[in-house]
């Protein structure tokens, strides 16, 4: 488990990320930061949560440390551990600890994927104690005012209601993300890929159609991210329908009926 120790400055975002606000999320995010409140971002994959965090970190000029959560993530993975190098033991801070020390923003992506016994470490950080106990070193870190905790989850495929205890949930300021409206989604696709607007509009139309199959066997339709990727393929000279097939149709499903239906949608839109 080679834990790469990146220097914290490398997490500083120096160039303004493109983020198109869809509501008052920026204001709320800034206000939450000012009040030292943790953030909970919810929404389907690829709808801009990560991008929003990048933007927020840039606005606040704080380093952003992102951890993608998964089953095997342990408390040590977050907080830190002793490592043995040759014949010495050395302590290595985990990403959460580094973020606290540096007064950065720690973003736990897809928090429900982590086990409950792992996520308990964020509890004292999430409430007004704002502290991180490092049991192995008998140390308690107090988070500086600049530190912010943010978590995300996707309510679509796993309800978090049971996983994040209501008492925990209620400490977070929640921002609800969903796919942008067609005009703005097209704008994002244009900005991110450089394709022309007419084409972006049609891609967005196709995306919306795939999202209509929610009850028919395709729980998650094409995300904004997939649309952008498809547009990039087209920018690289791939023929439109082939790009849609590779970038959207095949990425969404393995079911032959659904693939055929998605193919027909491509035919109808382009």
């Amino acid at each position: 488990m080679g834990l790469k120790q990146q220097r914290i400055e490398e997490h500083h975002i120096t160039i303004e990320p493109f983020y198109l606000p869809l509501g008052s999320e920026i204001d709320i995010g800034l206000a939450a930061y000012g009040r030292q409140l943790p953030l909970l971002l919810k929404g389907p994959t690829g709808c801009g949560k990560t991008r929003f965090m990048h933007y927020l970190a840039w606005r606040l000029k704080r380093p952003l440390i992102t951890v993608s959560c998964h089953d095997d993530l342990s408390t040590s993975d977050l907080v830190g551990r002793y490592l043995i190098k040759g014949s010495d033991t050395i302590w290595a801070d985990g990403p959460l600890t580094r973020a606290v020390r540096a007064g950065g923003i720690c973003y736990l992506d897809e928090i429900v994927e982590a086990r409950k016994d792992t996520t308990v470490v964020i509890h004292p950080l999430g409430d007004d104690r704002r502290e991180l106990p490092i049991d192995k070193r008998g140390e308690i870190l107090r988070a500086p005012a600049e530190f912010m905790l943010a978590v995300s989850y996707n309510p679509g495929y796993q309800s978090v209601l049971k996983d994040l205890k209501p008492s925990t949930r209620q400490r977070f300021v929640s921002l609800n993300f969903s796919y942008p409206d067609p005009e703005r989604e097209a704008l994002i696709v244009v900005r991110e890929s450089g394709i022309d607007e007419g084409f972006a509009n049609r891609l967005v139309k196709l995306g919306a159609m795939t999202r209509g199959l929610k009850e028919s066997g395709l729980p998650e339709g094409a995300s904004t991210r997939l649309l952008i990727q498809t547009a990039l393929l087209v920018q690289n000279g791939i023929e439109i329908k082939k790009a849609c097939n590779a970038g959207i149709v095949q990425s969404l499903s393995d079911d032959s009926d659904i693939i055929e239906a998605l193919g027909e949608m491509v035919e109808a839109v382009f």
Binding site: M1, D117, S159, A208, L213, S216, A261, A268
Partner: protein, 756 residues
């Protein structure tokens, strides 16, 4: 095969039926003249057709011989499907021509005209149109294209156009057109209020449907009602086509490319009748052909300026004036018949049906929410008058900033609506304009709890909802398709009976249960350490010592020096489906119940979520699920009493029970979800749910369940045969218990193996 051999094969195929020898002999006579291979081809269809109709099957064997020389192997399945389809619609009489005159009735349409059949494409066409609509829609066959707003009906076959791609495209066009008719309000036209010049009034919408609908009355006020309706259809088609040109550019382009091929079919005459004028205008609108006749040009211009269903209704009178003075009897032009018809009454009926369904669901779910003895979320201060007697019993509050909805009861306690229920409320408000008071009071009444105010109106809805009918599709392997909305499944409670059955079992099986408790407790301690990891919660001393030694010895030491705590939280939910058919009579009362009692102890020890449900019933209209222990309920004394009260009922329609359980499982959150099925034999119902049909449907239902991420496992005590088991459950997904006395032990053992 000679005649005698053919006969033997035939009797074997239809057994246990014993048809008359003379009938069979006649039917088999031509068959014995054929090559072995052809004989086999025909005979292979016998098991498919025989269960549907014996006479159809005999006719098929006798006269199908002639067809064999014409058909290619890949035609066989669609041909048989067509025969069965025709039989279902027109009986023996309807099916015969397909067998006796296969060239004209089957092959010519298929090959010469590049025919496309709906059955071949309906599954993905419905997905396609769901995407276009943005919500789920169905596709089904009927004579003329039309829609009731949830299902789009299309002709079973498309063969009017000369090539396959064009026929295929015609289906796409029709399905999109009719989806648009739903989406653009074509079917909601309210000419009365429009004629009155006012805005649409809400009162007319919530009124009961009286016949005929205002829009039908409106068309009837013309001397040629069909012409008036066709004018409206024409104008609305124009609106839909404009949308297609704008939104579905690909489809629009394909239509343009194929325009001449469509046009070739809808030829024009020089006669000027209303029908030809409408036909010309319609082809112009659909396929972009330039109208030449003055009347048609006018109609197209009129069509171009309509922007709502109300506009189109208003334009009908003008259009009618324009064309109808060419007085001639009106017969629908081909091209409009191709577009289909607007089924206003059907759509209104469907809307009403959905409205009722929403009402039932809302009332029963809200009542459930109110009845649950949860702590009210918060006290709301002074939101309405505190005077409970003056306030309505329940108030549905508008969405708050976060989009959450709450209901406020007369004692000022508010409860948060779960998302599902909030969505339902929003749908009701969108449909009716606001939440009817009667829905809320019915829910309050149903929940009891002293919140009165039920005006009796909700009673019917509540009771019929209480027995919870779920309508499910069933798989028909013969046509490789689902029979839609085929089975009705109801959930029924099992009355608990006070008895000492459970206590007696617990006493008798004491030793076994003790042993089992120990085993299952071990499963419960769900952590284990694993050493020599590159990182972990603690040092692995052995490894550290070894590494030091290595280091001293000048060998580069291992860095895998940790123990890691591997946790396997048992996050398991299990549903046990118990066959309660009459065939279980002998053993259900004893061994089966005993096995369930023992299993219940195991579940209870290990702390897994579990539910026990029995299933039985008779015919597709009465599939029943008997609730013995709900998934969410604790393993209480009452549950144990219900276990004691299980008894044999009627038949075994396995498919719907599995689908029902799979649905229930969808609402359950657990990493591992297991469906255990306990049966004593093949699935079978009173009607034609037997043999292969029953096995194939059950197998399909199990496949669907696995597709939903469930694990399925069958435990059977079928004494007669079990050769069908691997096919039904899948290799390795079942066990067979031959000694009934061992069932309790095997069942528990199996559960332990499956979940550890």
């Amino acid at each position: 095969m000679n005649h005698q051999q053919c006969r033997e094969v035939f009797y074997r195929l239809v057994s246990p039926s014993l048809p008359n020898e003379w009938e069979v002999d006649d039917a088999l006579l031509p068959l014995s003249q054929l090559h072995q291979q052809q004989q086999e081809m025909l005979l292979a269809q016998v098991p498919v057709i025989w269960p549907i109709s014996h006479s159809l099957c005999l006719y098929f064997i006798e006269y199908g011989v002639g067809a064999l020389t014409l058909l290619k192997p890949h035609h066989l399945a669609p041909w048989v499907r067509a025969i069965l389809g025709a039989y279902e619609i027109g009986g023996l009489h309807g099916a015969r021509p397909l067998i006796s005159d296969v060239r004209r009735t089957f092959l010519e349409p298929l090959e010469a005209d590049g025919e496309v059949s709906l059955a071949d494409i309906s599954s993905h066409l419905s997905l396609f149109v769901s995407g276009v609509a943005g919500h789920s829609m169905q596709v089904a066959g009927d004579l003329l294209a039309h829609t009731d707003t949830t299902t789009i009906f299309l002709p079973e076959r498309m063969n009017q156009f000369s090539t396959r791609p064009v026929n295929r495209l015609a289906y796409t066009l029709l399905v999109v057109l009719h989806q648009r008719f739903c989406a653009q309000g074509t079917l909601d036209a309210q000419p009365d209020s429009i004629a009155a010049g006012g805005a649409e009034s809400d009162s007319s919408r919530s009124k009961e449907i009286v016949e005929p609908l205002p829009v039908i009355r409106f068309f009837n006020s013309f001397s040629h009602p069909v012409l008036a309706a066709d004018l409206y259809l024409l104008f609305e088609t124009a609106r839909a086509m404009r949308w297609i040109h704008h939104e579905l550019v690909g489809l629009s382009r394909q239509l343009a490319e194929r325009s001449h091929e469509f046009m070739a079919h809808f030829s024009h005459t020089t006669m000027h009748t209303p029908a030809t004028l409408l036909g010309e205008a319609a082809t112009a609108i659909l396929f972009g052909h330039q109208p030449v006749t003055q009347g048609a040009i006018h109609l197209c211009r009129m069509a171009a300026t309509n922007h709502s269903a109300a506009d189109s209704i208003t334009a009908v009178a003008d259009g009618y004036r324009l064309v109808a003075d060419l007085s001639a009897p009106y017969e629908r032009p081909f091209v409009l018949a191709f577009v289909g018809e607007l089924a206003f009454a059907k759509a209104a009926g469907e809307r009403e049906r959905q409205r009722l369904q929403r009402r039932h669901r809302f009332i029963s779910e809200l009542a459930g929410l109110l009845a649950r003895q949860i702590e009210p979320e918060e006290k709301m201060e002074g939101v309405r008058g505190r005077d409970a007697s003056a306030a309505p019993p329940l108030v549905l509050l508008p969405a708050d900033k976060e989009g959450k909805r709450r209901v406020l009861s007369s004692d000022n306690e508010s409860r948060l609506l779960p998302e599902e229920l909030a969505r339902l409320a929003a749908a009701i408000e969108a449909d009716l304009g606001s939440m009817p008071e009667s829905y809320l009071s019915a829910a309050a009444g149903l929940a009891g709890g002293g919140i009165s105010g039920d005006n009796g109106q909700g009673e019917d809805g509540a009771t019929s909802e209480r027995d919870n009918v779920l309508v499910l599709d069933e798989w028909d392997y013969r046509r490789s398709g689902y029979r839609l909305n085929w089975c009705q499944v109801r959930e029924k409670p099992v009355e608990s009976i006070r008895s000492n059955f459970v206590a007696a079992v617990l006493a008798r099986r004491q030793a076994m249960i003790l042993n089992l408790r120990r085993q299952f407790e071990q499963l419960r301690t769900d952590q284990r350490f694993s050493g020599r990891q590159s990182d972990g919660v603690d040092l692995d001393l052995d490894a550290v010592v070894e590494a030091r030694c290595d280091f001293r010895a000048g060998i580069s030491p291992s860095e895998n020096l940790f123990v890691r705590l591997l946790r396997n939280d048992r996050d398991i939910a299990t549903i046990v489906l118990v066959d309660m058919s009459s065939s279980t009579e002998g053993w259900i009362g004893t061994v089966l119940k005993e096995a369930l009692v023992v299993l219940g102890e195991a579940f209870d020890t290990v702390g897994d979520q579990f539910g026990i449900y029995g299933f039985s019933g008779m015919r597709r209209s009465r599939c029943e699920i008997f609730t013995i222990k709900r998934l969410t309920e604790s393993y209480s004394e009452e549950v144990r009493e219900r276990l004691g009260a299980i008894s044999a009922r009627e038949y075994t329609r396995l498919g719907p029970a599995v689908r029902w359980a799979a649905r229930l499982m969808k609402t359950v959150e657990a990493r591992t979800r297991l469906l255990l099925i306990l049966t004593d034999g093949k699935p079978e119902d009173y009607d034609d749910y037997k043999g292969e049909y029953a096995i194939e449907d059950s197998r399909k239902a199990l496949q669907e369940a696995r597709g939903d991420g469930l694990h399925t496992f069958g435990i059977t005590v079928d004494q007669q045969s079990h050769d069908y088991l691997p096919h039904l459950f899948g290799e390795g997904n079942y066990i067979f218990v031959d000694d009934l006395a061992k069932l309790p032990h095997r069942l528990v053992e199996m559960y332990r193996l499956l979940t550890s």
